[in-house]
Symmetry: D2
Subunit: 347 residues, 4 copies
């Protein structure tokens, strides 16, 4: 693996920061994490679901420490309130379009009920985490076309290997006037006991045309765009195998804002910019035994390496999303050009 070839951005000479990427330069470099897409491109639809699975076990029974930072709350994501209170995630994460939230919630509830007949017996319920961006420019979002079956397909497709660009929840995305999408990046670093990984996945649908700033200082502007305002949203999912408590995870999540800033974003009024971080280092059991639990967590004074990794991977993941996404034509004949074409001098 070389620094230059492990991501769409790097293959165009665009390097974000100076930390070393993981083997695949993607969120699934964090052991156990899987990503799956269900892409819906038909008629007026350019949409889908992307699922992020923190581990392959029963997530409801073995919850995941998590926390979110709401950079700008103009958004409809569901499930964040309980994560803030309890510091745990108990379903896979679904990303989709703005009007797919209700369907995503229902799909996750049904999945957990099917996997956990004990939900009924123990009197508990389940907190689905579904986050979204608006793909209404390229897709007929008002059709509310996504189904629970689409969500299940994304969940079933989860793998350590996955595509970036116009796939899953990234299908209909736009960014800085170009085509947006799903992107990812990772960084590795040494702590006691060896190498650890932080990986980030973004659903990139934000940015005002003309504001995009590349790491080398260039500012690509799409030709012939009819977009003049900041619009859209960005969802950032950060995974790590470093053991952190939820307060630390919230601090880690917040650093995605630095990565967005480096890209030229200013967290526009209508942009739902949300960052969620989780760790795979330990699990929080649903059925507890005993009153106390032993944990190992990172010393606070060692956290800067994670902060830096989040800033770098957020920046790179957005570039990877955009460069992976070919130009697309969609609803009402609207289209978005590709940053890859611009970089290749074709736009």
């Amino acid at each position: 693996m070389s620094l230059e070839t492990t991501s769409p951005a790097r293959s165009h000479g665009l390097v974000c920061g100076d930390m070393l990427p993981g083997a695949g330069n993607r969120i699934t470099d964090v052991p156990g994490v899987k990503v799956g897409h269900q892409t819906v491109i038909e008629g007026n639809l350019r949409t889908g679901f992307t699922a992020v699975l923190p581990h392959s076990g029963n997530i409801f029974l073995e919850k995941i420490p998590a926390a979110a930072d709401v950079i700008n709350g103009f958004g409809k994501s569901a499930g964040l309130m309980q994560i803030e209170e309890l510091g745990t995630l108990e379903t896979p994460i679904l990303l989709t379009n703005t009007f797919g939230i209700g369907t995503g919630i229902n799909a996750l509830i049904r999945r957990e009920l099917a996997e956990n007949p004990e939900i009924d017996r123990s009197g508990g319920t389940v907190n689905p985490l579904v986050m979204e961006c608006n793909d209404g420019y390229l897709s007929d979002i008002n059709a509310i076309a996504l189904t629970e079956a689409d969500a299940f397909s994304a969940l079933a497709a989860a793998s350590s290997d996955f595509e970036q660009g116009n796939v899953g929840a990234g299908t209909g995305m736009s960014a800085f006037g170009f085509k947006g999408g799903i992107g990812t990046a990772s960084r590795v670093f040494e702590l006691d006991r060896g190498q650890f990984t932080l990986g980030t996945l973004v659903q990139a649908n934000f940015g005002k045309p003309g504001d995009l700033t590349l790491p080398d200082g260039r500012k690509p502007h799409p030709n012939n765009t009819d977009q003049t305002e900041e619009r859209g949203s960005v969802i950032i999912v950060v995974a790590t195998d470093v053991p952190l408590e939820s307060r630390q995870l919230k601090r880690v999540a917040r650093r995605a804002a630095a990565g967005l800033g480096r890209l030229g974003a200013f967290y526009g009024n209508g942009s739902g910019d949300i960052s969620l971080a989780f760790t795979t280092a330990y699990r929080v059991p649903h059925f507890i035994e005993g009153d106390f639990v032993a944990r190992e967590i990172l010393q606070e004074g060692r956290i800067d390496v994670l902060f830096k990794a989040v800033a770098e991977t957020t920046q790179e993941a957005v570039l990877n999303a955009m460069i992976s996404a070919p130009a697309m034509r969609g609803y009402k004949g609207r289209s978005r050009p590709s940053l890859r074409d611009w970089l290749n001098g074709l736009d």
Copy 2:
């Protein structure tokens, strides 16, 4: 109207605080506010939807200033993030059971799309507000039986006149080991330009048996309960015609916690205790003209009367919910006794 006879609690001699109730001692004393229920009692189901409409116009086009306080965030309510960011509510409020959130979201989206073809033209989306408590003790919640049609029925039933107790989203509720439900109360007070009103509606589903404290110091304990822990949740919706900005509304919402405390609650770990406040005094238009807008708001130094009113109405609304709710038998033969029977010496 006399202080003694305008609520179920007062008819049992239970008076909360010393402020004067509104004409109906209910949230709909705030002019324009309407409440509707869809009650589902059939087979194993004891559930429903309750809709609160801040005004009878197009809420998406004429948004409502609002803010929430999360007293304890163990809950699945949707829509609060955007309200926190923007300080406005743009749909009716739906209350339901925990697994009805997705369906409630979809119903509200469809309602707004039907009422507002301009949602598509303007590129905007809509932020549905749906809040919930778990009725899984008395109802087969895992059936996920509520439909969008049920939500529409609750919305269509909205009226200034509405029932309390085992209705709508209150149908399957429990509180302090007794039957819970929907309750309401209001207070009136003088400010410049005349009389103003604050009204509160609760979905009461919280409290540990034995903790309930009446205003006269009595502590009713249900007989034969199998519940030993704090469980459930409580949703508090506060309406007023006093003009407030969203920061002030958040402060107002927070005072519901004082009312819960007076009842003997301690905001248990598993209780999703959420308070939302809105004002009908002005509206925030979706389509704006000009860069500035004129507002009149309450002087901060005059806000204590609203704080006091929230504490009193929250306390009374919960008692009204419980006293209005007859004993109920439901799913798996489980049952909850009625506080009214206890007060009447029948329990």
Copy 3:
């Protein structure tokens, strides 16, 4: 020890809740916690400092897990921002009057510099925690009369044995139109490995005359008060030996609001109501060795006993403060009657 005799409130038949108090029914029942007062009653002054020491070691080098909940932020307390971010407390806690904050900060800085020459060598600074209520009714607060020497005296006086009422930072306090002050209470409970304790100390300076509600339903109103509005503030300090992470401590701190509600408070506009919780169960070292640290923490599902204990001890500590405080005459001839006299039929 009997339930009836271990506190000023209990000696008047006022019992808050049903949990068992600790041996002294005070915050210092939590092993290692000490409290000291410096009381200044001279001329126009009725003021002072109260110090709470989480342990008797070097608190800067061995920090204390802590978190605060701001119930109402009309107040001038210093040090809370860093506690929110890092989840640790690194100085003793000082309580004082509103204009004593700056002096308290300087005293704590000087104390830590004297104890820790390594502060300079390591390049770190120190985050003093000083909280306050306004004693300007009974004391000439504008004299800014407290000195760093007064703060050192309070710190030096710290002991597991301490007085309640008109002492230290409680000297000039008022509550519900009566004399306020410093009060305390504790509760004990069983968890794995034995008995644990939660103790609370309050600086009670809040409440509108006529709103005070006793556990038996009586509502004492002071005679001849010139106060008609809610005014003042209340600081609540909660200590426990149960191991909690900072997110859990924040949840615990928040439950003080329930205790205040039970007393008839509604967190008035001008009342700075702040609750801080810390645990003595483990320490966070300033100089770290290794990248990871092992911790044992409470299972979230076991936290309700602490929530209940906070509500009960907050309620009782305020009553203890008021009952321990004799009537006082102060600045400009103003006076506050004693709740103890009212209870004894003397007011």
Copy 4:
């Protein structure tokens, strides 16, 4: 005025964003805002106070709408809690070193008491706002040498004309391994009724050597630095004459994080990064008449221009601070090189 010549950064060809700077490209372009410094360079001291006055009247009697965003709360600033609750600022803003907070608080209290004998009569107190960065690298911070007289000198020096770089609270600052300091920038834009201004002042004391990124993509690294970690803090003060409510001001303040991100920062663990925004467009009177007040505020949908201006001015103000600051030698012979020298090829 030309875009190229109105700031230290622009005179070196470094342009941040594409908006037009105000006449002086500084915070005092916002009418009424004044800045004053008291610089202390003597012996081992390299420190001082910087005062920002929102208007020249009595700020306690005519409070200023304000809000803060805590980007990273590792800091000791005082006064933010009440601003969060009430949305108003009632003293000038003082910036200083970490151990100058207590002295700054006392100075502001004394100033307000002297200006407002009614503080005593009305029973109110005052909430001093003092923010800080640690200048312990270049200055003997442990001497706690600053006096209230120093604070008064900074307040008295307030003017629309002021210096940047090694002045006032910026005297001992470091940034990205270079000399830091006080910097400023502004932007103007059109809204209904004419031109409006947003101006920013920073106390820049943050950043890891090697992380600094210039707008043209260059990454200046200081020679011979002994600093290897992110350290320090940054305080950002944003002023505007656009009428905003406090919720909007909080949103505006948060966008400073984007400007910091563009500079290469990641909000390091030990960096107290705090952004405060205020508006001069209206005032909130201490003594209120009537229950309601009329306000005009910005339509939410027009806020992006302010967000963009904050990102641009934060980025530029930090560069202006660094470029204005000559190399400095201080405590224990330590020194920081100047970014200006690096830009001029002299480092």
